[in-house]
Symmetry: C2
Subunit: 111 residues, 2 copies
């Protein structure tokens, strides 16, 4: 039972553009802190802290290879957000002619 990550932590981690950019970078494969820091006008330490936040949120795991600690993206928290969105997605996906009313008046929602 390694994970018990809250949506709170995941959303908070994603609320920073630097961290989202780091995640996007990790789509191209594992990277060290120094490598991740390269595109940014921030200290390596600052990036190290960002990676720490991502790790706390379960969005990244690390494995040390020599003195390089390689970060790797983890998808589960993103899937959790996706599932949270399910509760709302039907409201914009369906072509409900009365959707306006549904949201305003709170009529019985479509099944």
């Amino acid at each position: 039972m390694a994970n018990q990550i809250s949506l709170d932590d995941t959303f908070a981690a994603l609320a920073d553009p630097t961290r989202r950019a780091i995640l996007a970078r990790l789509l191209d494969g594992e990277a060290s802190v120094a490598e991740l820091a390269q595109p940014f006008a921030l200290t390596v330490r600052a990036i190290s802290k960002h990676v720490g936040v991502l790790e706390q949120a379960g969005l990244v795991t690390r494995s040390r290879a020599a003195q390089k600690h390689l970060s790797r993206i983890e998808l589960k928290p993103l899937r959790d957000i996706d599932r949270w969105l399910d509760g709302y997605r039907k409201l914009w996906e369906g072509r409900f002619d009365r959707m306006e009313d549904l949201l305003r008046r709170g009529a019985d929602k479509p099944e």
Copy 2:
């Protein structure tokens, strides 16, 4: 051009359980601040501020009917998050036998 909402603001707004609960409540229809505050052990003012944050993030709009200001959920920022997730969704939706390698080694991603 009313909206220019950032993912930053949206994710940050969603990083609070009270605010997510307010959003869920609004699926049942518009509500006043006082109504929204009812389930919580917080002051009405605190809920009013939460609604303000949601409004800043474009997740809620308000219309005042009499002295009650009715809050209503807005879906666009959620759709924006959904589209942001698109960049990652393919990685957990597809059954890529080499997905492990893709994330670790950063091999050429599937089309």
